[in-house]
């Protein structure tokens, strides 16, 4: 139940690696946060794990299986790897219920229905509006919908790209608390990219700081939070207290 990235190199155009031999591990049930300045390759890392980018070197392994031979669309089904991209992560013209169904295509119809009802219960805000168009939701609700949809097939690994982007401080706290609850309830491991370092580290077990496609620092959430150079350079921690 471990998700690991070994010495991966990847990029968008030939001969220009964005990830320069990067290794990251997420143990079962862990919440791991990826921090780093803009353009350091955080989103690229997630895209490489889900398969939108093919590693040029190195391996991505989930539960002992090398993902290289698994078609991108089979990764959720065969390896339990679910992904919530940062932008355009819901389908606005469809209803909330339909959005959730899109995430549960490969679940047995009966189990899918039960799972859908269960998630609508866990997310009462969505449950109340199940028949409404997804683009009528607020930013926070959209993020919840994207999360709920990712949970439809019961994944083992959850990849989240800046889930708190654009949320108010209040919503942000709620979201991070929620991510923790998901982990406790579903037993998934979470690998999330975040800009809001302090808030995300609070709910995380461990963290990595990426710079230029390399791991610059890694440690427990507490260690990273207390690391001064990290705080000043990359966490956007603001003025020194």
């Amino acid at each position: 139940m471990t998700l690991s990235v070994h010495e991966v190199r990847a990029g968008y155009v030939p001969d220009a690696d964005i990830l320069n031999g990067l290794s990251v591990t997420v143990e079962p049930g862990e919440i791991v946060t990826i921090l780093g300045p803009n353009g350091s390759g955080k989103s690229t890392l997630l895209k490489t794990v889900v398969g939108q980018l093919r590693p040029r070197a190195g391996r991505v392994v989930a539960d002992g299986r090398d993902l290289a031979g698994i078609p991108v669309h089979r990764r959720i089904r065969d390896c339990g790897v679910a992904y919530v991209p940062q932008l355009d992560n819901i389908f606005g013209p469809l209803t909330i219920r339909e959005n959730l169904e899109l995430g549960g295509q490969f679940v047995e119809p009966a189990a899918r229905k039960a799972r859908l009802e269960q998630l609508l219960e866990h997310y009462p805000n969505l449950g109340r509006k199940a028949g409404a168009r997804a683009d009528s939701l607020s930013g926070g609700e959209r993020q919840m919908l994207a999360l709920a949809r990712a949970l439809m097939p019961g994944p083992r690994h959850l990849l989240l790209d800046e889930p708190s982007a654009g949320l108010s401080p209040l919503m942000m706290d709620e979201l991070f608390a929620h991510i923790r609850r998901i982990r406790d309830r579903e037993g998934v491991s979470v690998l999330m990219v975040e800009q809001n370092a302090a808030e995300s580290l609070e709910v995380s077990d461990r963290a990595y700081v990426l710079v230029m496609g390399r791991v610059h620092r890694e440690g427990t959430a507490q260690e990273i939070l207390e690391d001064e150079t990290v705080g000043h350079l990359y966490l956007g921690a603001g003025p020194v207290h």
Binding site: H73, P85, L102, D135
Partner: protein, 299 residues
């Protein structure tokens, strides 16, 4: 005049089927098939060849649909890793390839002369009765096609197609095999286009390679775009509009004494003008409504 009206309506129904098919591919699924006429042509030639060989027309029509579905399947598999734009160009090339085969394989297709003398629909009837019966058949098949396309759009498969159009990466991440979806849509769209082509052959009792020119694909695209991409009823209305105009222009020469060699160019010119006018006057009408709302919500 009645005969002309019936003719226009029959042709509208036939091309309406081809337009509904293209709308399913391009409007619903975002697949820019610039070789639609090849699928139409495969159905048309299959029906011509099979009826000439003695098959009754309903069986020939079904076989034509199957052949065109296979053609769609092949186009879908073709360069399945190609980016959408390159795939679109490839479809144009495939359509030209199909036309060149029709033009050159005389033993099968009759070459430049095409295949004529086909026993058409309802040989027992004559004159207006025959036209009316043909219209009823074509209209019924158009209705069936349109309802099928509409139903399909409301199923889970249809929703996946729309997601594939808007956000293929997300569709893939959610576990949907978009190459398989693409191939499926092209096979379904192929069967529909093949039905249109087969009806065309049966109605005119003739098919020739000139019917497979790229301009014909352009005409079908015009119907779909005028009606509003992604809109089944719109595709039918667009087909009626374009067909009426296209068939009506030769009549101008009786009214304003136009040299007949001009009417061909005038047709192309008129269709082009309509597309331009529509693009300039009502650009939002040329984009599917859902796409528009989605874009409007972005910051």
């Amino acid at each position: 005049m009645l005969e002309f009206c019936l003719h226009v309506l029959i042709m509208s129904a036939i091309f309406g089927i081809a337009a509904v098919s293209l709308n399913l591919q391009a409007g619903t699924s975002g697949l820019l098939n610039f070789g639609q006429i090849a699928l139409f042509g495969i159905g048309a030639y299959a029906v011509a060849i099979l009826t000439r060989a003695g098959l009754p027309w309903p069986a020939a029509l079904l076989a034509g649909m199957a052949a065109a579905a296979l053609g769609g399947f092949a186009i879908g598999r073709l360069g399945r890793d190609l980016a959408a734009e390159y795939w679109a160009l490839a479809t144009l090339a495939v359509a030209e390839l199909v036309r060149l085969v029709a033009l050159n394989e005389d033993w099968l297709t009759g070459g430049p002369q095409g295949i004529g003398g086909i026993t058409g629909l309802f040989p027992g009837l004559d004159g207006p009765a025959r036209a009316l019966a043909t219209l009823a058949l074509a209209a019924a098949l158009l209705l069936a096609t349109a309802l099928t396309a509409r139903r399909l759009g409301e199923t889970q498969f249809g929703r996946v197609l729309r997601l594939m159009r808007e956000n293929p990466d997300l569709a893939t991440a959610l576990g949907h095999d978009i190459v398989a979806c693409k191939v499926k849509v092209l096979a379904i769209g192929g069967a529909m286009a093949g039905l249109a082509g087969g009806l065309y052959t049966l109605y005119l009792a003739f098919i020739g390679p000139d019917q497979l020119l790229p301009f014909e694909t352009f005409l079908i695209w015009t119907m779909v775009v005028l009606g509003g991409l992604g809109n089944v009823a719109g595709a039918v209305v667009g087909a009626l509009l374009v067909t009426t105009l296209y068939a009506g222009i030769p009549f101008l020469k009786d009214i304003v004494a136009l040299p007949s060699d001009l009417t061909g160019s005038l047709r192309v010119f008129a269709i082009g003008s309509i597309v331009l006018a529509a693009l300039m006057l009502k650009p939002q009408g040329l984009v599917p409504e859902r796409l528009r709302r989605l874009h409007a919500q972005r910051p």
